[in-house]
Subunit: 374 residues, 2 copies
């Protein structure tokens, strides 16, 4: 039985349903990030009210604190954080390389790194990453890959790609050995090189993965490069599997990705922006590409503004609080600010993607895209 079903198409964009052990997910879907087994400042109820269907947690962080063995003893990640809907964990690969300090060492066997918490030394291998993710118990787990920076050049990119492929095979093997009903996704690397990317896609598609993810430094961070890669892949990605663009969470990038056939996204952007006072607004209320669809709540123009962040938004924050009050909480450094701002930004992003899904089912993706990005 297939875990993924396409229920609607509009050119390359797809509306689908993804089956996981903790329920079905309607795609395209935005996945809020809950790094340390909590989406910053929100309860599981807040997330459900905002419409979140699945959240992401970070293997690197949970391995270091509180430890995957402890979470396993407490019944797994779902029970630990009291979230009964789907969860995806990343492999820890990106984090060990970016947070692992100057002593990170990558060999064909795995990666040694130091903890950003206490400087202690650790080693992740593909097998170890899969073991940790089995202990955590997320619905979707990710293969351990090497994310090379784009600036390292072609030669190293090729080497990192080969290593990612050998690690992918080891991940599949370890996952089969451990058993269970978790879904395992493979990750396509290959940096900015078309032939490497295509080689990566072909190889990852050939293995027994439940889904295909696009990784790499530029995905989500550089719209031009992201679009280029997505375009190369549009006719090549396996139809019957879900497609996941890692680290994508800005309005424009989401449209670019969905247009190219991507089904899943995750990004810290809505939560991080919320913290910094950047609150999403729709085109009707001044949101556009040039302001990244957000207002800056610290702006003095909102001092006496009784309107909600986005007057068309139905989130709890917009239904109850004014820009003036949020601005006050922001400057007073009040904890409530974070929660109200995060509720809005998560709701906004989750519901934008839901609106896009509707537009695909109605074959109106392009007109929706134009109304946002014009």
């Amino acid at each position: 039985m297939s875990i993924f079903k396409t229920v609607g198409k509009d050119m390359y964009s797809r509306a689908g349903v993804l089956k996981t052990p903790h329920g079905e997910i309607e795609t395209p879907v935005f996945m809020p990030v809950g790094t340390q087994a909590t989406v910053k400042s929100l309860t599981p109820d807040d997330l459900k009210t905002a419409g979140a269907q699945i959240i992401l947690a970070n293997t690197y962080h949970l391995y270091l604190r509180p430890g995957e063995k402890l979470i396993k003893k407490l019944g797994g990640l779902h029970e630990f954080m009291s979230w009964d809907k789907p969860i995806l964990t990343d492999s820890g690969g990106f984090q060990v390389m970016s947070l692992g300090g100057s002593l990170v060492k990558i060999t064909d066997d795995g990666v040694t790194f130091t903890s950003h918490l206490d400087g202690s030394k650790h080693k992740f291998t593909p097998e170890k990453s899969i073991q940790i993710q089995h202990d955590l118990g997320a619905d979707i787990i990710m293969a351990f890959d090497e994310v090379a920076a784009d600036k390292v050049g072609r030669e190293y990119s090729e080497k990192a790609l080969d290593r990612t492929h050998s690690w992918a095979e080891r991940c599949v093997k370890e996952h089969k050995k451990l058993g269970g009903d978790q879904l395992l996704f493979g990750i396509v690397q290959g940096s900015v090189y078309e032939d490497l990317r295509k080689k990566g896609l072909e190889f990852i598609s050939s293995l027994d993965f439940d889904g295909i993810a696009l990784g790499g430094e530029s995905i989500g961070f550089d719209n031009k490069a992201t679009k280029e890669i997505i375009d190369w892949f549009a006719d090549l990605m396996p139809e019957e599997k879900p497609h996941y663009a890692m680290g994508v969470g800005e309005v424009e990038t989401i449209f670019i990705c969905i247009e190219g056939g991507i089904d899943m996204f995750d990004c810290v952007s809505p939560t991080r922006r919320a913290r910094n006072g950047s609150l999403y607004i729709s085109p009707k209320n001044g949101g556009k590409v040039s302001n990244k669809f957000a207002l800056d709540i610290s702006n003095s123009q909102f001092k006496l503004d009784k309107k909600p962040i986005d007057p068309n938004c139905l989130c709890y924050t917009c239904q109850n609080f004014s820009r003036a009050y949020l601005r006050h909480l922001f400057f007073a450094k009040e904890l409530l600010y974070h929660r109200l701002a995060t509720i809005h930004n998560i709701y906004f992003m989750v519901n934008l993607v839901k609106e896009i899904r509707e537009s695909i089912l109605d074959k109106k993706f392009n007109s929706l895209k134009t109304s946002w990005l014009r």
Copy 2:
């Protein structure tokens, strides 16, 4: 028409109903503190779910930021923070003297002080405090008083008491001049001296105040001194007015105060304790005077503890999350920790006082007190 009605008595302890412009309050009542127009980390909905009937906000803080004029323009404190139940504001007297820096100067006219935010110079007089509180628009406002430290000795205490009385008269006059339906409470000072306290109570009772508050350094901070003052007053406080002990919020002190006829309390203790990892537990679950009815969530014994903070508690936090998860959030410095911990501590305190109210109506105050303080 009287704003306060006693509906039950058990010795000196009273169960009553206090009428305010934003609804009736059942007393005894615990009032959570929302210093900057927010009870730290909680929404109005969280507060209602926890059973809060009235909250307190701080005039000093709101005057400095965002400013009472701005709040007035936005429709007053209730609309500003989206809280439609009663609010009490303090006079700012305690804060200007404790936070006003080393340049605080008290004269018979008022108090000059510097802002803890930007060092700017300000002056509060009794009239100014009442004007600000009228702009903020709380249901209950407080007279501007001088809170002298206990260590200043009898001579200065007497001087501060006289000043408090002259200021009380000016507050009543200004309040009448401004009109409206806010209730104004007077504050009894007099430090640790029985004759000064009694003189204070007699004077404040003689003025046209809607309620009588007990102020001073030791109230709430020193159980022995608090009990002594309450005992002096038990037969002297005007029956027909509500009695408010300022800054009281620990379990033992609450029992002491209610036993002596106090109807209202406020304290930052539940919110501050929550921040520091101190979470209330009832006697059934190990709470007692010696541990201040709290566990320390940072304790390693809770590492793998699947139980809620207090297994008999019906708050949202205890219904959904384990001590182990809260401990993880605490150490990970996650924003969600604050919210979940605060929800529990506020619920616990609000509901303890509700339970005490029931015991008064049932004439069982003493046995409830014994079951907690034995």
